[in-house]
Structures are given as structure tokens and as C-alpha cells.
């Protein structure tokens, strides 16, 4: 998700950067020290959070952190999940974002699951964008930041609903197939994400392979390029592909990898492709009787190329680093079923 929003934010920041460059070195040094200190604080907070979820009870689902499987709660089953996604490092400077999601899932039927999410985020960015300009990340695209500002913000980003309907089960039909829909509404933002989820198991169901195709059109109300006080609704479509493989190597524990290709179009008709990024990294999962956790670390692969709407300066060493693409991302999901 980014598109015209990135175009706007990046160009605007670059423009301001050229106008304001040459500001006091002392203040910039102070800002860098501040950024480093905040980053360390963030790391400590993240580690503390892992410890907290780790000390919960004993075991269950979400075998991958980014890719979905067709495994659902049974009818009447309930689960609470907490997600933390850490996005780290752009073109240069400093950039960190922590996205939190708190979810409640409920099994409406044996093959239909519903969920509600609360979404919130915190970010800090400094000289992270094209041409060294400070650029707010996508979830803060409606915020203003000067090219040399230290941007630090937090917000409640919105509420999401989710429905997953399983058509085929990998355990009884040979292959799993499910349809997924997730509307999200927040301030200056609306998105409708849909997925087709496929799952195939091998080796007595110890090896799980899942594939996701995602289609997610969205609207964002962001400041206009020419007159920032005036906001315009802009459209974008995300088309994502996900592949994940995991093997249960001992009881309760499985490990594997996740691969993502995320594509963004500045339109609803698949024209104006702006970004296409590739991510790959390891995943580990623990599942017990009521408690589970899953963690995946993804690094962007240097396979990105320029497209028709790619923002100048956002592609560095074949990495696309526009608003919601970064060099590294890490997600932890922890859940409790009851």
C-alpha cells in the first residue's frame, strides 16, 4: 500500500529538503542522538514484550506470521491474539515502526471464522526517505513532516473485521482452500483486503505448505502535492503473493520460511505499478494446548526494479524503500485459545 501517497510524500519531502537543506549541524546531531536513544528504548520494549507473551500459559494456531493457512477455530472456539510487527530501516537515516494488532477470533461454524482487530502504530523516522528527506511511513501518510524533521508519532490506525470461509480441508480433501475478507476503517483510510488461501500438507501432516494471493484496494485521504492543507482521497491496490513452508521438527515446535512479493498499483485497475518488493526469511512456531507464538523475520531481497510509478530515489541497490517497504521486518504473533 502506498502508491500516489508515496509519490506525494516523497516528492513533497524531497522538495522541502532542497529548500531547507543546510540547517544547523548541532541540532541534527542532537536529533540523531535522540533517534538512537529511542531506537534502543524500542528494542528493550520489544524484548520485554516477548518475555511477557512467553510467560503466558500452554498452546495453538497461526503457524506462520505473515501467510495464512486454512486451519480455523472450531464452532464456538475463541482465541485472543496479539501481533507486533517491527519495520526497520529505509534508504538511510533512521526508521522504525511498531504496529500492534489485538484480535479476537470466534468460530461461527466448523468452516467459518470471524475476527475483530484493533490496530495501532508508533513510528520514528529521520532522513529515511528519498534524497535524505524525512518521510512519514504509510500509516502516517496524512501527517506532515519537513525534510529535516525528526518524525515521531503514534496513533490508533483503525478497526478491522475478518471472515474466513474454508471450502476444502487439507486433512479430508487433500488440499485446503479458503476465502478471506478483511475490511479496515480508520481515520483518513479505508481498505478491503481479500485473499485466496491454499494449503497442502505432506509427511503425515508434519510439513505444511501455504500459498496466499491477496487483492487489497484502499482509499487514503492525504495532503495534496500542490496545496498540503487540502486533502484528497487517493486510490491504491495491493496485489500480494505469499508462500510459506514449515516442518514440525519436534512436538510443539515447527520451523521453516516465509516468502512475500508485495506489489502496489496507483489505481484500482492494475495500471500505474509503483512498487514490487520481495521478502524472505525464517519462521518459528510453538503451539501447545492453549498458547501459541509464531515469529518471522523477513529481509528484503535485492530483486526490485523500476516501474512506471516508482518514486525517484526510492529504489536503492535493487531494494524498494517507499513508504511501507523497508529493509527488514519482524512479526510476532501470540495467542491464547479458550
Amino acid at each position: 500500500m502506498v502508491g500516489r501517497i508515496c509519490l506525494r510524500a516523497s516528492r513533497l519531502s524531497a522538495l522541502r529538503s532542497r529548500k531547507k537543506r543546510g540547517g544547523g549541524d548541532a541540532s541534527q546531531t542532537a536529533k540523531r542522538i535522540h533517534a538512537r536513544a529511542s531506537r534502543t528504548g524500542c528494542a528493550v520494549a520489544l524484548a520485554a514484550m516477548f518475555l511477557m507473551v512467553g510467560s503466558a500459559a500452554s498452546a495453538e494456531e497461526s503457524i506462520f506470521a505473515f501467510v495464512y493457512t486454512t486451519d480455523l477455530l472450531p464452532q464456538g472456539g475463541k482465541e485472543v491474539e496479539q501481533w507486533i510487527t517491527w519495520r526497520h530501516q529505509k534508504n538511510g537515516g533512521t526508521y522504525d515502526q511498531l504496529e500492534g494488532r489485538t484480535e479476537f477470533e470466534y468460530g461461527l461454524a466448523s468452516n467459518l471464522q470471524a475476527a475483530v482487530y484493533l490496530n495501532y502504530a508508533w513510528t520514528q523516522a529521520y532522513h529515511n526517505g528519498p534524497f535524505g528527506a524525512t518521510t512519514p511511513p504509510e500509516q502516517f501518510a496524512d501527517y506532515m513532516a519537513g525534510p529535516d524533521d525528526f518524525f515521531n508519532a503514534k496513533r490508533f490506525t483503525g478497526v478491522s473485521g475478518e471472515l474466513i470461509y474454508r471450502i476444502l480441508s487439507p486433512y479430508t480433501d487433500g488440499i485446503g482452500l479458503a476465502l478471506y475478507t478483511e475490511p479496515t476503517i480508520g481515520k483518513n483510510f479505508f481498505e478491503l483486503e481479500s485473499k485466496v488461501i491454499l494449503q497442502k500438507n505432506y509427511l503425515d501432516d508434519l510439513l505444511t505448505i501455504a500459498v496466499n494471493f491477496t487483492y487489497a484496494p484502499e482509499f487514503r485521504n492525504v495532503p495534496s502535492n500542490d496545496n498540503p492543507p487540502v486533502f484528497n482521497w487517493q486510490e491504491e491496490t495491493d496485489i500480494n503473493f505469499g508462500l510459506a513452508v514449515s516442518y514440525r521438527f519436534i512436538e510443539n515446535w515447527s520451523a521453516g520460511f516465509e516468502f512475500l512479493n508485495e506489489r502496489e498499483f496507483n489505481s484500482f485497475d492494475f495500471s500505474h505499478l509503483s512498487n514490487s518488493g520481495y521478502y524472505l526469511g525464517p519462521t518459528i512456531h510453538f503451539g501447545g494446548e492453549h498458547f501459541f507464538f509464531t515469529a518471522t523475520a523477513l529481509w528484503q531481497m535485492p530483486w526490485a526494479t523500476v516501474h512506471t510509478d516508482t518514486v525517484p530515489g526510492s529504489l536503492v541497490n535493487h531494494l524498494v524503500l517507499d513508504n511501507d517497504f523497508e529493509r527488514f521486518r519482524f512479526r510476532l504473533k501470540a495467542g491464547y485459545t479458550f
Binding site: A47, L73, P74, N252, G287
Partner: protein
Amino acid sequence: MKASHWVWLPVAVISTSAYATTYFTVEQAQRAIFPGASFTSMGQPNTWRTSNGGYFVVERVVGKHEYITVAIGINPNGTVKQIEIMDYRESYGYEVRDPSWRAQFVGKSASSPLQLGADIKNISGATLSSKHITDGVKRVLQNLRAKG
């Protein structure tokens, strides 16, 4: 981020590892399925010949998170007398322990379909466990038939 921040994560999680829920020991399962019988080991792990000519087999099958241990009693004519779930530690699907679900296996032989969704009912939320218990019973019956 310093490595010291991470080292406590596996420690914290391992400390929460699931505990074993054992409903039957081998001896208890033998007495439940073949009351009054005596058991002779057949020289292979987890398989016993009973004094009335039947068989008692302990089979371990894959569950969602952990292995499930199943005791299978087989009549002298090769049909299932009774099965008991010895260990089960999953989030859902404790119905596999219900007598009505286990009763579906009684009378099945190596020639029976023993297929989840066909002659054995699925349990919502425990499809994987139900399937592997069913497959496990079938595997044991077929192995015994192959050995004559």
C-alpha cells in the same frame, strides 16, 4: 538490539511447555479393554498377544501439536474390540475420548474403509487428530493382517 535482550525468549517459552495428560497407563488400558486377560509381549514394541487370542497394541499418532497415544484392542478374528485414548493434549477435540466416537471403530477390520468422513465421523476443530487416529487404527489392523 543487543543479543542479551533475546536470550530469555526461548527460556520463557520452554518454561510454559505443555504438560502430559495421561488418561491410561499401558496396564490400565490393557485392563480396560481386556479385563481379566493376561498379556504376552510379541517381541516387538507396544504389541501384546492376549490370553484369549486377541491383540493389544499401543500406537502413537501425530496430533496437531503433540503425539497422541492410542490403545487398540483387537479380537481373535482381527476386528477392533475397543480403542482408548491414552494421552491427548490438544486445544480442541477432546471428543475423541467420548465413548460414542470411539465406538465407531468397534468391529472394523483391515478390510474396512476406516476413512474420516466416510465410516468415521470427523470432529470439528480436531480434524487432524481424528484423521490420524483413524489412520493409526487402520495401519495397526493392516500390519497385523500382513503378519498373519
